[in-house]
């Protein structure tokens, strides 16, 4: 028997990515990179001050000076859309990091300590039963809207999904013989959790993180759009659209440009998430092998 049975555990090669995943994620990565760059360098790129009001330039059509036209306060739409990327990305990243870190910790505890599990899972079921947008607006309306409260309000409903994922992985991984072997080797419980169980969660968590990020950006936009988000002074994609609602018949592009930026941003993240899943999902690998 040939003693080199190749079972690829980490089959991530560049050729693999282009062959199996296709070009859509590549484009998505480029688009997302552009949005990130626009957000970081907004003060340098944006042609105008996004909050400077110019009453004589209200609702102007696109021109050389205002490439996308102006809004009802005479502010430059393009500059506002560029600045809007900042809040969206900040919220997206912040919520993802918090939800993943908190969810991972709770999930590990839940997956390993049976007594805690029963309680934690009931709480998580309860949190999942509450519609995330309703919960978030309730929190924001009580505590007051700032970027931090919005972030916290969006994080809370995202946590249960991470917890459930981590817990289910831990539950199935702890049945693995190598975990039982570690128990027989006298490895302590925290160390088993850290060294043998947690690494199993990384690949699925990466995929889940992209979905959390996309969902957070979406929820933030909904909150802003409903008027329950970050202060209306701040240019966010949701706020721009909320203000433009009244003028929709007159100037629909006031809604469509920020809407497109938002959609593209979420779409790119989702496409990258799908690509990550295709690469990391062990079942897919087994099917291809």
């Amino acid at each position: 028997m040939a003693e080199t049975t190749q079972r690829a555990a980490f089959p991530i090669r560049t050729s693999f990515i282009t062959e199996k995943v296709g070009i859509a994620p590549m484009i998505a990565a480029v688009v997302l990179l552009l949005i990130v760059l626009a957000a970081i360098f907004a003060p340098l790129i944006a042609p105008h001050d996004p909050i400077y009001q110019n009453p004589i330039m209200r609702l102007k059509p696109p021109s050389a000076e205002y490439p996308l036209g102006t809004d009802n306060y005479g502010r430059d739409l393009l500059s506002r859309v560029i600045w809007g990327a900042r809040v969206s990305l900040l919220i997206g990243i912040g919520v993802t990091v918090m939800a993943v870190v908190v969810g991972l910790l709770i999930g590990l505890v839940s997956g390993y300590i049976r007594l805690a599990d029963a309680i934690i899972m009931r709480v998580m079921d309860g949190l999942m039963a509450m519609p995330s947008v309703l919960l978030a607006i309730a929190i924001v309306s009580l505590i007051g809207a700032s970027i931090w409260t919005v972030m916290a309000a969006i994080t809370i409903p995202e946590i249960p999904r991470v917890v459930r994922l981590v817990r289910s992985i831990v539950l199935s991984a702890r049945e693995e013989p190598y975990v039982e072997a570690a128990i027989s080797l006298g490895t302590s419980m925290p160390r088993i959790l850290w060294r043998h169980l947690m690494p199993n969660t990384f690949a699925p968590l990466t995929v889940q993180a992209t979905y959390v990020c996309a969902s957070a950006i979406l929820t933030e936009a909904i909150l802003s759009f409903l008027g329950a988000g970050v202060s209306t002074e701040t240019p966010t994609w949701g706020n721009i659209m909320a203000e433009a609602r009244v003028y929709f018949r007159l100037k629909p592009e006031l809604i469509f440009w920020p809407g497109m930026a938002l959609s593209l941003c979420i779409l790119s993240i989702n496409l990258l998430g799908d690509a990550a899943r295709d690469i990391l999902d062990p079942r897919m690998n087994k099917r291809e092998a």
């Binding site: 049975t5 190749q6 690829a8 190598y178 072997a181 080797l185 006298g186 302590s188």
Partner: protein, 540 residues
């Protein structure tokens, strides 16, 4: 004219320049003949049979050359609908896992009737009568009730009978059976083999029987084809292959089959009791709120001893409780009651912390070599984990790991590599090295060679014997395979439904069994009359 004639068949991975998995094989089967296609994993035996049925997984494998003639008609030239017409009417197939091969959401009777619906225009009454008749022929009891059952309500043997009924109801001239008894217990296997043989004789059906088990071959085959890594090695009438194999590969394969005749008893090396289990009991599933059914008594008053340097085998079929015993001893699950003494120290009922000093005296080798090593740790990291837990300095543990890897016959440079770079047999060696690193007094091997091909199995068994000679470790060997038990164990305990029914020296238990159940296990062992390593019948 042959019934089935496979000419120079080549199957390859369905990709540009895809690797060939079956190369240029030719097989013929005459009407009414039972032909075995035998080989180890990766030999291409299943692929050949799926190619015949036109069931190769789409987009994964494809036939690149050759012909498959059934009654002179090339199946590879047929349109999909023509091929469908041939299935179940002229050729049928049964599979290894009858649980997954039957649709879980339909009643089994309906699943058989469906074959008639697809290929005949019988009236409902005729269909029903035919299905009932077939169920009777495959020896099922209480056929009306069985027909109305879902697959999960039947036993493994019953499910395989249903599969056979489904396959033979239209009296096809060819039945392909792909490892149909591998997932079954040995006593059930015997009944299914007999059923296939009987039906083959009664209906004159030709059977292509795919198996890895030489015992099964000796039991049922008229003619044998041996395959290895996609190539046909040799073929011939069964007696010729078993008695006078021409090719080295076949000889090696046959000599790897452990003999059922117990090996001569070994002189004992020590009086020291390594493990003493007394009145062990384990209940499952008690005390759940609103749970259905009562607790299962998985292990019932089990007692035995293992002395240093000796091997005790616990043999039994699935559900006998043998693995539960092993897991209780390892404290992977808590026994309900009973004593477990290791080196004289009572360890049952100890807390996790109290147990720690004794854990290292007990080590385990698991069944599935693909899951018993953490894929993210290097071999060295896996091996030193235990000693480091007990305070051995890292450098010292690493040096010891290198020695152990050498001892278990791993090539140099293995230490820094990851498990996926090794074969199943090698991983099992690594797992043994990991256990030995703890310098245990008792090694529990739970079906440790069952997942391995027979040639690899022989090597791992030799390794265990060697290690025992050197280190005088006691071994508790859990297995369903009487052949393996006969060759490695000094003593054997036979378990049935949670109880030890017979316990004694291997030569007595397997040579002159006292209990009915042990006897029935022995008579059910396929190929028990043939002494494979010596290419001759067992001397009476």
């Amino acid at each position: 004219m042959s019934l089935l004639e496979i000419d120079n068949l080549t199957v390859a991975v369905d990709r540009k320049n895809g690797k060939t998995v079956v190369r240029d094989i030719s097989i013929h089967i005459e009407p009414g003949e039972l032909v075995c296609l035998v080989g180890e994993s990766g030999s291409g035996k299943s692929v050949s049979s799926l190619a015949t049925m036109g069931l190769l997984p789409k987009g994964a494998l494809k036939v690149t050359a050759g012909k498959i003639l059934l009654d002179g008609e090339n199946l590879l030239d047929l349109s999909p609908s023509e091929l469908r017409d041939r299935r179940a009417t002229r050729m049928s197939m049964i599979f290894q896992e009858p649980m997954t091969a039957l649709n879980p959401v339909h009643k089994v009777g309906d699943q058989i009737t469906e074959v008639l619906e697809a290929h005949t225009k019988l009236s409902n009454a005729d269909k029903h009568a035919k299905v009932m008749d077939m169920l009777k022929q495959v020896g099922l009891p209480d056929i009306e009730r069985v027909a109305g059952s879902y697959p999960h309500q039947l036993s493994g043997g019953q499910r395989q009978r249903i599969m056979i009924a489904m396959a033979l109801i239209l009296e096809p001239r060819l039945l392909i059976a792909d490892e149909p008894t591998t997932a079954l217990d040995v006593t059930t296997q015997k009944q299914i083999l007999k059923l296939i043989k009987d039906l083959q004789r009664e209906h004159g059906t030709a059977v292509l029987f795919i198996t890895h088990d030489m015992g099964v071959v000796a039991e049922i085959a008229d003619r044998v084809y041996v395959m290895n890594q996609g190539d046909l090695v040799e073929d011939g009438p069964v007696m010729e292959i078993l008695a006078t194999p021409k090719e080295d590969y076949t000889r090696k394969l046959l000599s790897s089959v452990p003999s059922l005749v117990p090996r001569p008893a070994r002189a004992s090396v020590s009086k020291k009791t390594a493990l003493d289990v007394s009145d062990l009991n384990k209940f499952y599933g008690a005390g759940r709120f609103l749970a259905k059914g009562s607790a299962t008594h998985a292990v019932q008053d089990v007692s035995f001893k293992v002395t240093a340097g000796r091997t005790l085998g616990i043999v039994g079929e699935s559900g006998s409780g043998k693995s539960t015993v092993a897991r209780c001893i390892m404290h992977l699950i808590e026994p309900t009651s009973g004593g477990i003494r290791v080196g004289g120290q009572q360890i049952s009922g100890l807390s996790r912390r109290g147990l720690k000093p004794y854990r290292k005296k007990l080590q385990m080798v698991f069944q599935d070599p693909y899951r018993s090593l953490n894929p993210r740790l290097t071999i060295e990291e896996s091996i030193i984990e235990g000693p480091v837990n007990y305070g051995t300095p890292k450098a010292q543990a690493k040096a010891r790991a290198a020695e152990l890897l050498d001892l278990v016959g791993m090539p140099e440079g293995s230490a820094d590599r990851y498990p996926h770079m090794f074969s199943g047999g090698q991983r099992q060696r690594i797992a043994i090295a990991r256990a030995l690193a703890m310098e245990p007094e008792l090694l529990v091997a739970d079906e440790a060679v069952s997942a391995l091909d027979v040639s690899v199995q022989a090597q791992v068994l030799n390794l265990l014997a060697e290690i025992q000679e050197r280190t005088h470790v006691a071994i508790l060997f859990i297995t369903h395979d009487l052949r393996v038990a006969a060759q490695i164990c000094d003593e054997v305990a036979v378990m049935q439904r949670g109880q030890v029914v017979e316990y004694g020296p291997t030569a007595d238990v397997l040579g002159a069994p006292a209990h009915d159940y042990t006897r029935s296990l022995l008579t059910a062992a396929p190929g028990r009359d043939w002494d494979f390593p010596n290419f001759r019948p067992v001397a009476a």
